[in-house]
């Protein structure tokens, strides 16, 4: 497939933060991948392929030794990347290689300890240089968010926060106030990993959140089928993030890169929002 350089992203400004215009334009499907999984070159190849296929946005994770929110699939992806020598410097190199290829919107997801050790200021400065849309730390709740959020404003990087099924209304209000970029709604009580059936009770949360913010609402965790994606996107969400179901295809095809990539593309194609 021929890759076309997309035109410069037009951000919408909400408050003093820039927001991708997707919510106002179209519904988005966002693949999640671990940078450097299974190794640097294959990871770059996979990411280029899904970009070529026209995905709207990417969410990319930095491998961490102890990811507590992740199920076995993403744990294994973290370990694979680390065992092939992935580290922060190489993750930024990889992002740089991706950026040479495409300016597709990219959000990062990573444990706060990696940012803390790199230096929060330095990390966000790198993100700014790489035109990273947002940085989400699953282990930074509101209570610990001050420094990160303030420095992110300085470097013009969005910091989305997670809302879960156990988040109270009062707290949802605060999260909507402080979040930038988008709101990440976790669809279930639990860790990442594909589920056969989805309990759609979180759709109620979407209504609540929609009443409180104009920010796009992305839903993640457990989603693995195109019917899940369609149902969620037609019921108020602006984006759906799918990780484990894609990463499973890496895991299954470690011996055969071509098969791995073609299975990923076929799967991603099924989940993508057709324009």
């Amino acid at each position: 497939m021929q890759y076309k350089i997309p035109s410069k992203i037009q951000y919408k400004i909400i408050g003093n933060r820039k927001v991708l215009p997707n919510r106002f334009k179209k519904k988005v499907f966002i693949p999640f991948l671990i940078l450097g999984d299974p190794d640097y070159n294959t990871s770059l190849e996979i990411i280029k392929s899904v970009i070529d296929h026209g995905v709207d946005e990417l969410e990319l994770g930095f491998a961490f030794s102890d990811p507590i929110m992740d199920g076995i699939t993403i744990q294994k992806a973290n370990n694979r990347a680390l065992s092939f020598g992935m580290n922060i410097k190489k993750a930024f190199d990889l992002l740089n290689d991706i950026r040479k290829y495409s300016d597709v919107p990219i959000s990062l997801m990573l444990s706060f300890n990696l940012i803390y050790n790199y230096g929060i200021d330095n990390f966000l400065s790198e993100c700014n240089k790489l035109n990273i849309n947002a940085v989400l730390c699953p282990d930074i709740p509101l209570e610990e968010s001050n420094e990160l959020v303030n420095l992110a404003i300085k470097h013009d990087v969005n910091i989305p926060f997670i809302i879960s099924l156990t988040t109270s209304y009062e707290r949802i209000k605060k999260i909507c106030d402080i979040s930038s970029g988008y709101i990440y709604l976790v669809s279930l009580l639990g860790i990442t990993g594909k589920r056969e059936n989805i309990n759609y009770s979180f759709l109620e949360q979407i209504k609540l959140i929609r009443g409180l913010t104009e920010l796009p609402i992305y839903v993640g965790f457990g989603i693995s089928k195109s019917e899940h994606v369609k149902h969620i996107l037609t019921n108020g969400a602006d984006g759906v993030i799918v990780g484990s179901a894609i990463i499973n295809l890496i895991d299954k095809n470690l011996e055969n890169n071509q098969k791995m990539i073609s299975e990923i593309i076929i799967f991603v194609d099924k989940l993508m929002v057709k324009k």
Partner: protein, 392 residues
């Protein structure tokens, strides 16, 4: 959160959003019941009749003669299930019961915390699930069987390094999934707020008794208190009551391990965020968590309680270490001089005293927290013996 979540810059609540409501509820319940007469009375009774408190403060006469100054042992090793862990297990199982929780989960390294929770759960009638690394299951078979005897389910964890840190990861994952019904009973002063405060509260009885006992026997405070530090619950348990007594030196002893492999989180680690709080951590320059190592499974944890990081930076406590070999020698020394078999963990505290005996003079009084007994370590000792000395 209602209480201060930090100890200086350390501690905090670095947790996924899914856990926040549960930590708020836990904090509220803790505040409510810790001041509730009925709860306190029931816990005291359990500590007395079930666990066997108060424990003695024992003047180790032979060691004192040998070293030339008085050495007292706080006999937490005499407690039911064999270590100080039962203090916290009873406190938190009772808290879980008052909160109406239907299931308790715990992580365990050496198995002492797991055994204590399993016993308390059996007694108080709440099902217990214990997460334990595959490697630890292998080296602590005895404790695994004890947990099963008490009716607990032992979940083998084969992710990561298959040891304590991975057991904590897996327990956290289970907790996030079952957050509404399940109580996560952390065994040390680690983890997110309010766990360090809760565990400290349930362990502070060690220091309270010690102070009362030493004043009754000696009429004055000790010159030093020594305790081993993995996560740091027995150390903070005995230190806490003496924090304001500036003339009492507080000494924590970490696992020196052997060549290049150790559990010296406070002395060799750097500040990071791990398992929900900011503290010293064994990690590489990127912040990837390293594996800790010690002959004693209870000390090989790459994190440490945020309170200890705070006390270290304040210089209120000092933290040294003892190697595997020094700990084994100290264990044997205590066996031969006093007829007491200490846990390998506690042996690190004795080893520190032995190698630093010249820092004390004949007026000094030293208290060692003998946090656990060594029956569980006999298999390990047979192995270590052949390893270190080429056979007994």
């Amino acid at each position: 959160m209602k209480l201060n979540t930090k100890f200086g810059e350390f501690g905090g609540v670095y947790i996924p959003e899914m856990m926040v409501a549960a930590m708020e509820t836990l904090e509220n319940s803790f505040i409510k019941y810790i001041n509730c007469f009925k709860f306190k009375k029931e816990l005291n009774q359990l500590l007395n009749v079930f666990a066997g408190r108060p424990t003695g403060l024992y003047l180790a006469k032979n060691i004192s003669l040998d070293l030339g100054f008085k050495v007292y042992l706080k006999r937490e090793d005499m407690l039911h299930t064999g270590a100080h862990k039962i203090n916290n297990a009873l406190g938190q199982v009772l808290l879980a019961k008052y909160m109406g929780k239907k299931e308790i989960i715990a992580e365990t390294g050496a198995g002492q915390h797991g055994v204590a929770v399993a016993a308390a759960g059996a007694f108080l009638g709440i099902p217990v699930k214990v997460f334990m690394g595959e490697k630890d299951i292998e080296r602590q078979k005895l404790n695994v069987y004890r947990m099963k005897l008490f009716g607990a389910e032992v979940v083998s964890v084969n992710s990561g390094s298959k040891t304590l840190k991975d057991a904590v990861n897996e327990a956290l994952r289970y907790f996030i999934t079952n957050v509404k019904t399940c109580y996560y009973l952390i065994g040390s002063v680690v983890g997110p707020h309010p766990y360090p405060l809760i565990v400290q509260k349930f362990q502070e009885i060690i220091g309270k008794e010690t102070k009362e006992q030493i004043l009754a026997i000696e009429g004055k405070l000790p010159s030093a208190i020594i305790a081993c530090v993995g996560g740091g619950s027995n150390a903070i348990g005995i230190f806490n009551e003496f924090l304001d007594d500036k003339n009492v030196n507080l000494i924590g002893v970490e696992a020196g391990g052997k060549v290049k492999k150790h559990g010296k989180t406070l002395s060799n680690g750097s500040i990071g965020i791990f398992h929900g709080s900011k503290s010293y951590v064994l990690q590489d320059k990127d912040g990837q968590i390293k594996e800790a190592y010690s002959i004693s499974a209870g000390l090989d944890y790459p994190g440490v309680g945020p309170i200890h990081s705070f006390l270290k930076n304040l210089k209120r406590a000092v933290y040294g270490n003892a190697t595997d070999e020094e700990a084994v020698d100290a264990l044997k020394y205590l066996c031969k001089t006093e007829g007491i078999l200490p846990a390998l963990e506690s042996s690190h505290a004795i080893a520190y005293l032995l190698k630093n005996k010249n820092n004390f003079n004949n007026n000094d009084i030293v208290v060692i927290n003998l946090s656990g007994r060594g029956d569980k370590d006999v298999n390990q000792l047979i192995y270590a013996d052949s390893d270190l000395y080429g056979g007994c």
